[in-house]
């Protein structure tokens, strides 16, 4: 029996019409923006399943763009995001497509940042405004956006996980969940840590110094359906 709280029942406060097609879509856009962490020049939205069929009627397009612009799902400007994004000079395109065996409400962001680096981020809106990010640049991750998160890409050598958790332990940061993924034995591996506390910059720097570490992404929470302002 799932535990249900007062504001799970009376909430979220959101821009309509649909918690999964609108509120969840805005959160997906916002977390994609956070993952990129730089100014954005271009976004192509590959829309899958129900997203591809009903995005106009549910305002999914406006919600995704609002998220890219940094808005929360309860931001009244969400409705006019398509005009706002034009003013900011960000190029956007929506492409209904079939991405394969994914959740019906899935989007793949193809984002070009200010340094012309291209990002591929795939995520789904899984109901009630909840979301998950499944892939970043081809690496499988496990990200809900409700916790501060670190994602590392590193050489697949023994001890990396121990070193990272050691650094987090020394900083007094508790790990809420951890996922490890690698495409091939001995090649690059991706580690996702969801944490109970935000990670100070100096801790991120320490993790970057670990031998074999190629890339570290830190994501501050974009809020759960009931704590958008956190």
């Amino acid at each position: 029996m799932a535990n249900v709280g007062v504001f799970d029942v009376l909430g979220p406060i959101m821009i309509g019409p649909s918690s999964s097609h609108t509120a969840g879509a805005a959160r997906l856009g916002k977390i994609a923006r956070t993952i990129v962490g730089k100014e954005i020049k271009e976004v192509t939205f590959l829309l899958h399943g129900s997203f591809s069929k009903t995005y106009k009627g549910h305002g999914t397009d406006r919600a995704l763009v609002a998220g890219i612009l940094g808005m929360n799902p309860d931001d009244a400007r969400l409705r006019s995001s398509l005009e706002l994004v034009k003013q900011q000079g960000i190029k956007i395109e929506f492409v209904p497509t079939d991405l394969g065996d994914y959740h019906p409400n899935t989007v793949k962001f193809l984002i070009k940042d200010i340094d012309d680096v291209t990002w591929e981020i795939l995520g789904s809106s899984i109901g009630g405004g909840l979301i998950k990010i499944d892939e970043i640049n081809g690496n499988k991750v496990n990200l809900t956006g409700e916790y501060p998160t670190i994602i590392t890409s590193n050489e697949d050598v023994p001890g990396t996980l121990a070193k990272i958790s050691g650094i987090l332990y020394d900083a007094g940061i508790n790990i809420a969940s951890m996922k490890s993924d690698r495409s091939q034995k001995g090649k690059e591996s991706t580690l996702t840590f969801e944490l109970d506390h935000e990670v100070p910059l100096e801790v991120v720097e320490q993790i970057k110094l670990i031998q074999g570490m190629n890339h570290v992404i830190t994501i501050n929470p974009v809020g759960g359906p009931n704590n958008e302002n956190c």
Partner: protein
Amino acid sequence: MKIAKSGAELINICEENHISLSEYAIAREMESKGLSRETLFSYMHSTLSVMREAATLGREKEVYSLSGLIGGDAYKLQQYLNSGKSLMGSATIKAMAMALSASEVNGSMGKIVACPTAGSCGILPAALLTAGEELGKTDDELVQALFASSAVGMIIGMNATFAGAEGGCQAECGSAAAMAAAAIVELMGGTPEMSLNAAAIVFKNILGLVCDPVAGLVEIPCAKRNASGAISALATADLVMAGVASKIPFDDALAAMYKVGRELPKELRETALGGVAITPTGLKYKEQVFGKDA
């Protein structure tokens, strides 16, 4: 305090501690989230304020959904109410207008509170705000009543579902109306047991209601079902305050709702593959919004 897992437990806990449904919900939330009473009340006041705006906007001017399938009806009802010619009187018409307003605001990409869902966002605000105006209640009292509604909502969420995809419209609009009826009974001075009687009666009266959104959008027939749910909540509160009890207790009524929901074919659970969604007119509306290929 113990966490109530059923309606019967909820009544027992309230009786043992000599507290109302709302005080149970407040105490539980303070304990589980570690929040102060002031923080909870402040957040619930902002929740009430979003509800009120959504229930008002469509009555003051015509609001249309993004698809254009619905809109302007809350405004029509308000004009009709102002004309003084209505059959059912001010409370009923006002509640329907408020419920339609919130649904239209939702469809127009305006701000709403999903209570419990976006599709049923008009029922609780409409019923509670109407009762509050008729009874001359303060916002503090309405906030207290919102906590009462959540006490019942938490039991529904723990034992059944709010999702139309799982339980049909009875899980969305039914739950919203059950929560609203329970809250209004507390607002009118009824006991926790009476509140749960009201919630049980609402569920029994909406049992079997399917979820069949035209074009898959939360507009037709959802907006009018919000109006209907608000009236059900208000009428049932009166029924219970007159001393009428539910012959079937809340937990049984809730279990029946959940079981009936799961027994509904998938065509009638938010897939837009049954009910009014696939009538010739429903399909015509779908084509109008999404084109021929969708």
